[in-house]
């Protein structure tokens, strides 16, 4: 029976082509839009995590409270013990990376060693020289280098290329960092710019300087100390898992006997990416917006398909009457219509997924350069925004596509329930 009605459905353009096209376009738009939104948002989250927040972060509470001041005296000592504790008490998949967030005045001397220009900078120190360090890969530094090399020796510096342009600095330029040491004293240390980096994030290209962790510890008198431990999960791990691991680490943290060199008032806290920079609230809003977008598209599809169903009902008025007269029960008639809706939904969703998925894939591979728009925004977002093709994106397109098709058909079929057999002869004679 199904094949019989399916044959009729495929042949009848009025009852197949229009709803099929609506579902295809609707699903394609949802898949593409969700892919693009996911790509932009997750790109921003990934970038924030890689550069700044980690997926998990261990930091001294007092440092975190005054983070904007870079209070290096609130750093955490005893790297090895701290790392051992983190590895033991977190998920084995997490890679822990020590970082120092620092701030300083960057002094560019001329050939007579007199100040040519100065600017305050925010900097990050990370392990750029250990062979097993993931940091270079994490920040894609090799591919981001526009000039020079990565630091190999001590007191070598990578600089955002736009900052270098502003300061008129090129590779090989000596630089003096003037800042505050761990214990509050003034420090001045000489560095050499060995590479210019295009992070792809305008805010960072304009302001960021990277140095090796060991050099920073030497410059700021922070032997065996870091300001942060950032934890990274492999890609694809759900955000909920971050929270689970954070929860279990919090329990461990409460029972932790701190290493011997820690200050008495050191009070480390564990944060997930959601806890930082208002990202949790942004994520929740993003989910609401995404749900709203999918909901609106689904509603619109139902609306259009409902109307298509009504038009089809008029177009097939005679057929429905005939089927009722010939003894097809109302419920079965509606069931076959729902099956048709299901088929249209499935075929339209597949076609829409292919179409929307292809476009999303193109946007994922090629991306869209929005650097000009982001230039003044300060957002930690890549200039080239990319879609992200995910199974979830397809599900969010396909399920509403099928639902809308069946729901639209069923709503339109309600008239069949009300149709009285007593009038069928007259109606059918009317042609």
């Amino acid at each position: 029976m199904i094949s019989f009605w399916f044959r009729g459905m495929i042949r009848d353009k009025a009852r197949f082509l229009f709803p099929f096209t609506v579902v295809t376009i609707g699903v394609a738009l949802v898949v593409c839009l969700v892919g693009f939104m996911e790509g932009v948002f997750m790109g921003m989250i990934d970038m924030t995590a890689n550069l700044d927040s980690g997926h998990l972060r261990l930091v001294n509470q007092s440092f975190y409270d005054e983070e904007h001041l870079r209070p290096l005296d609130r750093s955490l000592a005893n790297q090895r013990e701290t790392r051992d504790w983190l590895v033991k008490h977190s998920d084995p998949e997490v890679d822990w990376a020590p970082r120092i967030r620092w701030g300083a005045i960057l002094d560019v001397p001329d050939e007579k060693s007199e100040t040519r220009s100065q600017t305050p900078v925010v900097g990050m120190a990370m392990d750029l020289k250990s062979p097993d360090s993931e940091e270079i890969q994490r920040l894609r530094l090799k591919s981001s280098l526009v000039q020079g090399t990565l630091p190999k020796g001590s007191n070598e510096m990578l600089m955002g290329f736009q900052l270098a342009e502003v300061l008129d600095v090129s590779v090989g330029q000596p630089i003096t960092l003037i800042g505050q040491s761990f214990d509050g004293g003034l420090v001045a240390d000489n560095y050499q710019v060995v590479g210019l980096v295009r992070f792809g994030i305008t805010a960072m290209d304009k302001k960021m300087v990277l140095i090796d962790l060991a050099s920073a510890q030497s410059t700021f008198y922070m032997e065996d100390m870091v300001t942060d431990w950032l934890g990274y999960f492999p890609s694809g791990v759900n955000f909920d898992h971050y929270e689970e691991v954070k929860g279990s680490m919090k329990v461990g943290l409460a029972n932790w006997s701190p290493p011997k060199d820690w200050a008495k008032d050191d009070s480390p806290i564990i944060l997930s990416i959601r806890d930082q920079q208002n990202i949790g609230a942004i994520m929740d809003k993003f989910q609401v917006i995404k749900g709203f977008v999918v909901g609106v598209f689904t509603f619109l599809m139902i609306l259009v398909l409902w109307n298509a169903g009504i038009l089809s009902g008029i177009h097939r008025y005679g057929e429905m009457g005939l089927r009722l007269a010939f003894g097809e029960p109302h419920w079965k008639l509606i069931l076959t219509l729902a099956m048709e809706g299901l088929w249209v939904g499935i075929l339209g969703s597949l076609a829409g997924s292919l179409l929307g998925g292809s476009f999303a894939w193109y946007l994922q591979e090629v991306g869209l350069n929005m650097g000009d728009s982001f230039a003044q925004s300060g957002l930690m977002i890549n200039d080239i925004v990319r879609a992200r093709v995910t199974v979830g994106g397809f599900i969010q397109g396909i399920v509403p596509g099928i639902f809308a098709s069946v729901a639209g058909t069923l709503v339109a079929s309600m008239a069949i329930f009300k149709r009285s057999e007593a009038n069928l002869f007259r109606e059918l004679e009317a042609g």
Binding site: G8, A325, E328, W331
Partner: protein
């Protein structure tokens, strides 16, 4: 004496039209035997279609009983009435009501599909039925490619293919020219004798009268006469 297929006992049907009651049938009693070949005649509004509705289980009487082989249709649920039509009744309409996207073969197959039969089980039966109405050469054509007479032949094949006990034919020749009307009536008469399905026409058409064996005339919802006819126009 023939066994009764349909029995109507003091059947009345009243419709509510606005504030008024309209009596479409008034105390009609009637028996239809198995294999009957008969017609309801009468002017518009005389109650012919209402009578077909009641016999076909498409409507229920206001008072009285409609019995099918002794079973009161009144006691049947909506689904049971649908099953009654599906299994026992074939319909033929003035405007053919063929499904336009399906071929001749598929249109004839359609009632069997509704009865839950699989296409591969009934393919030969459908092809044989199409051949009986003389359309074997047109079997893959769509209704739009057929003449009016050919469409009505398809409708006849569709009504008969499930081997029903009763066929209700509402003005089957009204849209056909004289020659096609005679051909269709001849065909129906032949098939009535072959398949033993009772056929009830509802018609204005004088030509039908020459083929049937019984004529029931309705006026104002009442039977004004019920008389036998010789049905001599059969061509074999």
């Amino acid at each position: 004496m023939s066994e009764n297929l349909i029995t109507l006992e003091h059947v009345s049907k009243v419709y509510r039209v606005g504030e008024e009651n309209f009596s479409a049938l008034n105390d009609v009693s009637l028996e239809v035997s198995k294999g009957a070949f008969m017609s309801f005649v009468g002017p518009s509004g005389s109650g012919k279609t209402t009578l077909l509705n009641l016999i076909g289980g498409l409507d229920r009487p206001t008072t009285g009983k409609v019995l099918f082989k002794g079973t009161d249709l009144e006691n049947m649920s909506r689904d049971k009435l649908a099953a009654y039509r599906r299994e026992n009744i074939g319909f033929i309409f003035q405007t053919y009501n063929l499904l336009p996207v399906y071929s001749v073969y598929e249109n004839v197959l359609f009632p069997l599909i509704l009865n839950g039969l699989k296409e591969n089980q009934v393919r030969e039966r459908v092809e044989a039925m199409v051949a009986k109405v003389g359309l074997q050469d047109q079997i893959n054509k769509k209704p739009a490619q057929l003449s009016g007479g050919q469409c009505q032949r398809v409708a006849i094949a569709r009504a008969l293919v499930k081997d029903p006990l009763l066929i209700l034919a509402d003005e089957p020749t009204a849209n056909l020219d004289s020659e096609n009307s005679h051909q269709i009536l001849n065909l129906m008469q032949t098939l009535n004798q072959e398949f033993k399905a009772a056929v009830i026409f509802s018609t204005h058409d004088e030509k039908v009268t020459r083929y049937i064996r019984r004529e029931v005339k309705l006026e104002d919802g009442r039977i004004s006469w019920d008389k036998p006819r010789n049905g001599t126009e059969i061509e074999t």
